[in-house]
């Protein structure tokens, strides 16, 4: 019996590489020539092939345990599943949101009525006490005759001109607050628009008169940047008419909010802000909860 180990290392290496097709074409050709001539080399090649085959067929062994890793093994602290926490937080945020919305709706319905009724009542009672309704009635022919008021046509036609070719109209429109209900008194913008107003409708709201007064005073008092803004005779006439009108109306507290009040009022109440905040929070938390549920 011969030992493969007795062969030279060079021959063994060549034969082993030949089995695995790791020789170059040149080396392969040279070795094959040698194999044809050398019986020992053929024997050694057969032995090496058989050995490689035996090793290849060696049975695989099952691991004694599962080799999957845990967080402790890789040095990570065990992660707690945040899903229950997020679920609870989402529920709390949703309930809080519902409560705030409910409270807001309740307060709105309650105070909206009070806000509409109370000032109107107050205004009417004050006007009654002051006998203002008589004063606010339609001007008589005598008023016109005495020169307290100009003829309605004059006022209607000249007032826009006196206010300065539309620019002041726009100003009034911007400053005039929208009415909260149909019960509210007519607004001055309605009386200034061309073709619509009458002197009668003009005197319905004392506050509107005050507004006209302010606007006209501003129109008259402001320094106009353009030449055409300089008050003309016609404008002066309109201003004097408005001033005279103001004089005829008793000074009464305003039943409707003044423009300044509307401007100063905040656009979002704290309740609305809370609604938006809680709503957004609930949506974000719900998203995180869903993500956690899928992830963990």
């Amino acid at each position: 019996m011969r030992r493969l180990s007795d062969l030279s290392a060079r021959d063994l290496e060549q034969l082993s590489a030949y089995i695995d097709r790791e020789l170059t074409v040149k080396e392969t050709a040279r070795l094959e020539k040698r194999l044809q001539a050398d019986r020992t080399m053929r024997w050694a090649l057969a032995e090496l092939k058989a050995t490689a085959n035996v090793i290849e067929k060696l049975p695989r062994v099952q691991p004694p345990r599962n080799l999957t890793l845990t967080e402790e093994m890789i040095g990570l602290p065990k992660r707690r599943n945040p899903y229950p926490i997020f679920r609870l937080a989402t529920a709390i945020a949703a309930v809080a949101f519902a409560l705030v919305v409910g409270t807001d709706a309740f307060l709105l319905s309650r105070f909206a009525n009070a806000r509409m009724i109370a000032p109107a009542k107050e205004a009417f009672s004050i006007m009654e006490e002051a006998g203002g309704f008589e004063a606010l009635e339609a001007p008589s022919e005598a008023d016109y005759a005495q020169g307290i008021l100009d003829e309605p046509e004059t006022l209607v036609e000249e007032a826009p001109a006196a206010l300065g070719a539309g620019s002041h109209e726009d100003k009034i429109d911007e400053e005039t607050p929208p009415y909260e209900s149909e019960n509210a008194l007519p607004i001055i913008t309605g009386t200034i628009e061309e073709g619509q107003p009458t002197a009668t409708s003009l005197v319905v709201s004392p506050s509107d008169v005050g507004q006209i007064d302010e606007t006209v005073e501003r129109a008259a008092g402001e320094e106009e940047p353009c030449e055409e803004r300089i008050p003309t005779t016609e404008e002066a006439k309109g201003i004097s008419a408005a001033n005279e009108m103001t004089a005829t109306v008793p000074s009464l507290p305003s039943a409707t909010p003044t423009p300044e009040r509307w401007v100063a009022k905040p656009s979002l109440s704290p309740l609305r802000l809370a609604e938006i905040g809680l709503g957004s929070l609930a949506v974000i938390l719900a998203g995180l909860t869903l993500w956690c549920r899928r992830r963990f």
Binding site: M1, R2, R3, L4, S5, L7, A9, L12, E13, L15, S16, A17, D20, E22, R39, T40, R42, W43, A46, E47, L48, A50, T51, A52, N53, V54, I55, E56, K57, L58, P59, R60, V61, Q62, P63, P64, R65, N66, L67, T68, L69, E71, M73, I74, L76
Partner: protein, 204 residues
């Protein structure tokens, strides 16, 4: 889920995805460790360490054969462990034969496949044990190379990369390892099947 997707997830720290890869490769990794370490428990520990190391180094994986990358890690873990033991020898208490109950039943081409009778079965297990003993008599570096190339089927270049040795060294060590195993198996000639029987009659 495909392997690349699992690797990407694992690279982002997803342990669950990495464990799916572990389940796919643990058999191969464990077998390499088992034949290099010669002991069942040491092999399991080495394989486990290799997976831990692989998870930590996963960001350095830059594509290519993932199994080759894993086997390089396990080979190095095993060789490092054997070198450490050589410096500080410890008495092995769990040296054992191949466990017949752990031999993979899904190995159709293996030596234990198609067992005809209990006697035949015993012979096959004895043969497997003989081959294992012969392989385990090799030096660790030789052992790693013969397992990676002859048992796991990797090419010379891949094996060279795994054991971090030059290609020439791998060629040379493989040839010498095969020759030594063949010489060792001559003691068990009667166990070798007809088709695998090594013959020295050629030169008679």
């Amino acid at each position: 889920m495909d392997e690349m997707r699992l690797i990407n997830l694992a690279q982002e720290g997803d342990l669950e995805a990495f464990n799916q890869l572990v389940l796919s490769y643990q058999m191969r990794v464990y077998n390499v460790a088992y034949y290099i370490m010669k002991e069942k428990d040491s092999a399991a520990d080495a394989a486990q360490d290799a997976f831990i190391s692989a998870f930590r180094k996963l960001r350095t994986y830059r594509g290519g054969s993932f199994s080759a990358w894993l086997l390089r890690i396990v080979t190095n873990v095993c060789l490092d462990e054997l070198r450490r033991r050589k410096r500080r020898p410890i008495a092995s208490l769990d040296e054992e034969l191949l466990d017949s109950d752990r031999i993979n039943a899904l190995d159709p081409g293996g030596l234990t496949a198609h067992l005809a009778s209990p006697e035949k079965s015993v012979e096959q297990f004895e043969l497997a044990d003989a081959i294992k003993n012969c392989i385990q008599q090799l030096p660790p570096d030789f052992r790693a190379i013969i397992i990676l190339i002859d048992m796991q089927g990797y090419g010379y270049r891949e094996a060279s990369d795994m054991v971090r040795k030059p290609l020439g060294t791998v060629k040379s060590r493989l040839a010498r390892a095969r020759a030594r195993v063949r010489d060792c198996l001559q003691r068990y000639r009667e166990l070798l099947p007809e088709s695998y029987r090594l013959n020295d009659e050629v030169i008679k």
